[in-house]
């Protein structure tokens, strides 16, 4: 306890976040083994983990770097489909399921990172609304490209095509991995709740350690005051690139986890709506507040499931709840209450 008090406030805050996630995982595992969880909720466990990772990674761009990105689902998409293809290719070489999951997720993350190196060019040149539009366009471009790519795998290796499945010239024993508008098919379900939990811990470690290192400070300095940051020798492009690419790699990892939870997945799944959904998590949890993002992503993913009783009015109630929560968390009086418990209050608390 004494030691906890002596820690820097930022370190203490990070440890609370890790602790919260670990406790949540333990509780869910206990409920799972006790058979106390509804099957609909059970199916949500991996998507929750993926969305938590997405929210934390988007928070790096939106909250820490201070640039609005509307195409974050695009990176998730790149990660998802690359991971699915990698998992299929590695089926014979890597037999252990969890290892194959980890390796293919990592490949998905790297792919998303590489794509982000292209997107980072406009990111470094544009700001504000203009950048938001560019990222939106990027998300749409990714979706549409994946929508018309065909990938097959047989004894000779990969076959790529943009026309249709037949033109790939796949051998008889070959199998289709990506079927254009039909999405990725025949995915092995490798993802598990534990894998998701470990990915969340990794993401939190990367995000929080990044924020509390010199690179994170530089990025936040650029966000708060670009001219002043340059006057103390911070080069904007270098640090913005670090934050943006890190954020994209994490999104790619989340995509891999998400995709390998289903037997098939469509490119349409990662559209503008998903990007906005993740942005809502970030805004609700508080810009720059990593713990807030975790809580908001988990709560808002579970909420529609809990509202099932309202049947047809489900999404209406969801929207109303969202509006009320936004109003409530932005009310100055409520903010002071939150600040006392060091729970909500955005950037100020977590960003330090």
């Amino acid at each position: 306890m004494e030691k906890l008090k002596r820690m820097a406030p930022s370190t203490r805050s990070s440890f609370i976040t890790y602790g919260m996630v670990i406790v949540a995982y333990a509780v869910m595992e206990a409920l799972l083994s006790g058979g106390l969880l509804k099957s609909s909720l059970k199916g949500l466990l991996v998507p929750i983990c993926a969305y938590v990772v997405m929210a934390v990674s988007l928070n790096l761009t939106v909250g820490i770097m201070g640039e609005l990105s509307l195409g974050h689902a695009g990176f998730m998409s790149v990660g998802a489909f690359t991971a699915v293809i990698a998992a299929a290719a590695l089926e014979s070489t890597v037999t252990s399921g969890p290892v194959r999951l980890a390796v293919s997720m990592a490949i998905g993350g790297v792919a998303a990172g590489l794509v982000s190196l292209i997107v980072v060019v406009p990111v470094l040149r544009l700001q504000g609304d203009y950048l938001a539009i560019v990222t939106l366009a990027f998300g749409e471009i990714i979706k549409n490209i994946i929508n018309c790519v065909y990938v097959g795998l047989d004894g000779e290796g990969f076959h790529f095509g943009m026309k249709d499945a037949a033109s790939l010239g796949l051998a008889a024993d070959g199998k289709m991995l990506l079927q254009g508008p039909m999405g990725a098919v025949g995915i092995q379900k490798l993802s598990s709740f534990t894998a998701g939990f470990l990915l969340i811990l990794l993401t939190l470690a990367v995000a929080l350690n990044f924020i509390h290192s010199r690179a994170g400070r530089a990025v936040m300095a650029l966000r708060d005051n670009r001219i002043a940051a340059e006057s103390v020798g911070i080069s904007p492009s270098r640090y913005k690139m670090m934050a943006f690419v890190t954020s994209a790699v994490l999104a790619g990892l989340a995509g891999g986890l998400y995709a390998m939870n289903f037997s098939s997945i469509l490119a349409k799944k990662f559209d503008f709506n998903t990007s906005i959904l993740i942005l809502v998590f970030v805004v609700l949890g508080g810009m720059g507040n990593i713990r807030g993002s975790v809580i908001a992503a988990a709560a808002l993913t579970v909420l529609p499931e809990l509202l099932r009783d309202f049947s047809d009015y489900r999404m209406l109630v969801y929207a109303i709840v969202l509006i009320l929560v936004m109003l409530f968390t932005n009310n100055p009086a409520c903010k002071t209450v939150f600040a006392r418990f060091k729970l909500g209050s955005p950037a100020k608390k977590e960003a330090v």
Binding site: R214, A215, R223, I227, A228, S231, V232, V352
Partner: protein, 277 residues
């Protein structure tokens, strides 16, 4: 109190204790035009290694523009800036800072959402060597350099007795403390020349007196040159060794405080022309 201004080989005047050293800054025929407007023209200034110099002039004379030229917020359209004998032509703001110029701003520009300590540490960013991976995986390099940075930040903050505020959010500080923090942040970049843009603005007389002491203390401990823009004549005349007066973008007088005070052109620029009888 002042060391006398003496002329060096280039013909410029620097304090006598700096006479045998090369000057830290030399501006030769510096100028910038915005559209057709000549904001600064033919600006020549030499500052000695450990000189405290003042840049004064009526509002709109182009003083802050000179700072922006020196720090390359604007690229000069004419002339040369030699920093420590090195031409800064084509450098960016960040490169000029690394070369040794740090500044504060007339309208305070702090990293308001960061803590006081982190504001100072951002200033030390370029002195730190550990890379992003050391930061993310908390390798030994991270711990070692962060420890040094923390100690150095506290030491710098102690110049202004601000160690107790280290964990406060910079944006929540009172006005005077924000101004002081800006100076500390600038010092953290380890400059050879410190540019202060109206450091005493909004301060009361006792705070100004304390600031004067601290500017001298900074010069003495760090052995750096200071160029300051200030409207508080008491401060300028008290601590500056050399003063340069700017009006309508042009230098109208240069010299020691005594010379400036008795200069007819300066009095005219500030107070207007005496009506001819």
């Amino acid at each position: 109190m002042f060391s006398k201004l003496v002329s060096i080989s280039s013909g410029a005047m620097v304090p006598d204790r700096d006479a045998d050293k090369s000057p830290i800054l030399e501006c030769i025929g510096l100028g910038v035009t915005f559209g057709g407007l000549k904001a600064v023209e033919n600006f020549n200034l030499t500052i000695g290694r450990t000189e405290i110099a003042g840049l004064i002039g009526p509002n709109g004379a182009g003083k802050t523009t000179v700072f922006n030229l020196l720090t390359k917020v604007y690229q000069p359209t004419k002339g040369t800036i030699l920093l420590d004998g090195r031409d800064t032509h084509g450098m960016s703001t960040t490169q000029v800072n690394r070369a040794g110029i740090a500044r504060t701003f007339q309208n305070i520009r702090l990293f308001t959402n960061l803590t006081v300590e982190d504001n100072v540490k951002v200033g030390m960013n370029n002195a730190m060597r550990y890379n992003m991976w050391s930061g993310i995986f908390r390798l030994p390099g991270f711990w070692k350099e962060e420890k040094v940075a923390h100690e150095r930040a506290m030491e710098l903050l102690s110049i202004f007795d601000m160690q107790d505020m280290a964990n406060a959010r910079a944006g929540s500080l009172p006005y005077g403390a924000q101004r002081r923090l800006e100076i500390v942040r600038a010092l953290a970049t380890n400059p050879g020349l410190l540019l202060l843009d109206e450091p005493a603005a909004g301060m009361n007389p006792s705070e100004t007196a304390e600031l004067m002491e601290n500017i001298r203390k900074i010069r003495d401990t760090f052995q750096i040159a200071v160029l300051l823009i200030e409207h508080d004549m008491n401060l300028v005349m008290n601590i500056c060794e050399g003063i340069c007066v700017l009006n309508f973008g042009q230098i109208i007088a240069k010299g020691s405080p005594e010379e400036i005070q008795s200069n007819a052109t300066v009095v005219e620029a500030y107070l207007g022309k005496k009506k001819e009888a």
